[in-house]
Amino acid sequence: MTTSEAAESPDSEPGFPVVSSSPDEAVPPAPPKPRVGKVDLALGVLNGVLGDYLHRQNNALATPMGLYHEGRALPVEREALRSAHPHSTGRVALWVHGLAVTEAVWAFPAEPTTDYGSLLERDAGFTPLYLRYNTGLHISDNGEALAHLLQRLVAEFPVPITELVLVGYSMGGLVLRSACHIASEACLPWLSLVRRSYSIGVPHFGSPLERMGTVVAQVLRAVPNPYTRLVADVVDLRSSGVKDLGVARLRRQDWEDTTSPCTPLLPPPGIAHHLIVGALGEQGKWLSAMFGDGVVSLASASGRTGPRDTSPLFPPENVKVVAGIDHVSLAHHAEVYARLRESLAVEVA
């Protein structure tokens, strides 16, 4: 199902930009411009690769964590929030992007002004709030910053927040889990507003690609040659955020002491966790079993240590596998939105 098909389906209101077909119009209207500029996209990549270094050096290219609205920073202040969302009902959905991207990743490629957030606002009345953050920092550091940002948001939002839905894509889901853990330990009241959370292609047990990077760096460093050591140095330049993804280090102690195994962080109780998992091929086929969505394995995205794990982190009935979709497309795909919407509708019913 394409985005346009989703928009035209009988059970959805047309919400995508409509092109006028008047015969009088000689010049076709320009396609909608993306809300996030190319410089911001490039900075997203730079932050993913070197974000921790930029942060340590106080470099202005480091992205500070904040909410963004239509490509611009949205201060967590009552008036600014009211002006950006004048019709908010207090039901809020927070959208947290993944590694080396910005909130632009949510936008449908053919319709850059449309994303899951805007569709969900239209269909279910959830005010979308988009987070942008430095993905090169440790996941636990971003989780801590997010926990405190949400505390400010709850205090400053122009209407009382009655429900906060958390949606994380890829690394964003891990940042959300880390933030929930910190809120749970510090008894931050915003956690009681969260009843549903969604993980889209989140490597709950780490990403094999990053683990491969670690092995490559170790092998290159072991070779007694200055050239291979230089390559190892370059490979090791990858940010703390990337390294945390290897085994999903969500707490400070997980990366401060890497000698002991990283115990999985249990999700906070009282929240319905839903997982949307991408698979390159059909479910059960070798392509999906081997590569998952191309970046995250099926087991990790489903909250299981392996295919035979009998005690997954999340209830298996809340795991939805979308076949024939790669990791990047998970953030902007009509079928994924259909699953999100379906799941929200079931919860509401």
């Binding site: 050096q57 470099n59 202005a60 290219l61 200055p226 230089l230």
Partner: protein, 102 residues
Amino acid sequence: MTRLRGLKDLVHDAVEQGATAVERIHRSSAAKPFEVLRLIPTLDAPVGTLQSLHDAALSGTYGMVRWVNRAVDGTLDVALDLFEQRQLPATDAQGHPPKPPL
């Protein structure tokens, strides 16, 4: 402007650390033939002198790269400061910024 400064700092750091890394490899690679030549007893002393000269030239060359890099960084800092000052609104005789039009 802050982003431009950030980019300048990043390029400066990349050149500084890149030059140091390449110098380390250059020194390490050049040391191999010197080590082999110094195995010949009669060549040990002259090759040792030659290696010292080579290493000094190497340090000078890469040091010059780093010096130029720092000089360019400092010059760009001054240029960006001047540009920022010119962007600030003009002030009146008392040093106050002009009032916005009603």
